[in-house]
Amino acid sequence: MTDALRFHWRLPQGGERAGASRALLASRPESALPDVDYQASFCRTAEDLGIESLLTDFGWSKPDSILLSAAIGLQCTRAKFIIAYRSGLICPTTFVQQLNTLSALIDGRFSLNVVAGHSPDEQRSYGDFLPHDERYARTEEFLAICNAFWHGDSPVNYEGRFYRLENGKVATPFISSDGAKGPELYIAGNSDQAMQMAITQGSCWMMMADTPAKIFAKSGPVLESRKTIGLRMSVFARPTREEAITAARAFAAERPAGFDSKSAESRFVTGGDTVGMRKTFELAESEWLTPWLWTGLVRTHGAPTLAIIGSYDDVAEALLEYKAAGVRQFIFSGWPKLDEMVRFGSEVIPRVREAEAAAA
């Protein structure tokens, strides 16, 4: 079943067990504290449910995603990590050295989700002053060098606009018992530059969700180049559609005392220069994009919360619609975090697998 849909989940940060918006989390220092025991048990639950990998976020308000994956990866055996990272913060040689070291410690159980950066404000805090398009040009060079270390001949020589390397060597190879020579590379972002980079350097274009028709309309060049399409989104699956909608509305209505998520998120979007975040924010003009695609959380909780909502059957059907539109992978968030993943894994995934087997 090589064509099977692949499901990933966002790993909750240590201080974040219940639902909370991005803006709220960033305002709480304790949210940055790793909680390795809880996070590792979350990963082991994911393993048992057939969730392939856990997304470890990158950002100034969080612990480092590579090192967190090392700590948690030692406490589980099958779960992989999707390590979110940005270019421009670290020299590609060191980056490859860190990742190859990690691969040797946890048998290569990770892929990379590379973002060119989503807010100039945050990038400058890391010492990166390039504008949006330049960041993509640099990320392209960054990944070309990383790929040369993983798939090319050593030593690596490179002379570009942003990077120059002379006889770059990393003695620690990428190690994985499945024989891969480097991590799977997701390129995140909805802009044309992101799409181009998925084609030239990546293995999957990871987009913010939209309707299957709109995703399909954008996917042509990526699919033609034999790369895959992935969606970063959320899900509310319940026994009935009514229960799912009730749960989603109740979650949206939760307001932490004294904190205005709505204005914080809209400040984040207007301050940012990402195409994906802004487009998704605009989509939220209408509450429903299809009978099962709900935007009700987007303006308070951010673009990744565009959600599939419905009964277990509804959600399975929606996933198969995406599959028909060319999508092969999903990174989901859900609330309550663990419960939603358990429901999804035990109720939705088996329905999808059944339908996939019947179609084969």
């Binding site: 940055a32 480092d64 060191t94 805090s125 990077y163 060597k169």
Partner: protein, 369 residues
Amino acid sequence: MNTEIATRPLRFHWSMSSAGQQQRAAKSRAAVTGVPDLDALTAFCRHAEECGIESLLTAFGFHRPDPLTLAAALAMRTSRIKFMVAVRSGVCSPTLFVQQVNTVAALSGGRICINVVAGHTPEEQRGYGDFLDHDERYERTDEFLTICRSFWRREPLINFEGSHYRLENGRLNLPFLDGERSSPEIFLGGNSAEAEQLAIKHADCWWRLPDKPEVLAAKSRALAASGTEMGLLMSICVRPTREEAIRDAYAMVADLGEPPRTAHREFRKRSDSVAFLSTYDLADRFDWLTPYMWTGAVASLGAPAVALVGSPEDVAEGILDLKHAGVSQFLFVGWPDLDQMTTFQRDVLPLVRELEIRDESSERKGGTA
């Protein structure tokens, strides 16, 4: 000498980079495997914990695994040992570096300190995309540490504009967490005048390579006002008797044969490290720097191979001589590592502590304190 530092008990650290290999530096750097053996390293760390070693140096270089990633993993498998993580400026944004160090601190309960090195061969630096010369590397390291320390002081928004780094509203959510400190202890290595100045400005302890005690004493007098400590990176070969220790040390060098000497001659040509080059020179001139400090292995094993060689009594004396010259911390490589850690803890350390107490009481009697 700074009297406050001089009366503190000596602190001992060990190098971890050799775990699983008998004579790491005898191989040419290209031949050393970079694949970490987590079980062997874990066993090494636990042994060090049992031997009362305070921290283990995880070195940095293209031929090794990444030290921060290794520290994060090993922290999960150990409970007391600290990791002294080597860092070079110029390979990472200071914001990200602080984030990574703070992450290891949060994972380990603050069991991380950093060892800053400016880089030792232009050739290796270029493999990391770094084309600066020796002096510019120090200037950049200065800026790098200035920014890092602003983060560790928990300044709310960090702005910096230098010739190598620029930051606007730098911030991190995760602080450096440790019961006692709000920043990692900073060690800084290098024998050059630039390294010394940088250590005085930013570091808690200046790591340097050994020299004659009188040379070290002059250096430590110069450091005294700053409160920066002086530590030595060196090797150790302790045997029941002085004769056995010397015999083993010579035999080890003889066994290594010619290839490592050739490798080090090559390395010597390529390196622009003042510390490494001056130690090769020192070893050319003197076989013994003191009756207990031998340079005979430097040509085969490199600059960190200036060694304390002798019986437990000899080595304890040798260590105290260095303490009197102003040295307050040691980072050892053992010949061989695991055995020497055990021997050090069982046979040498008690003597050192005894001698320290004797020093202290004689000082009190003398009324100099």
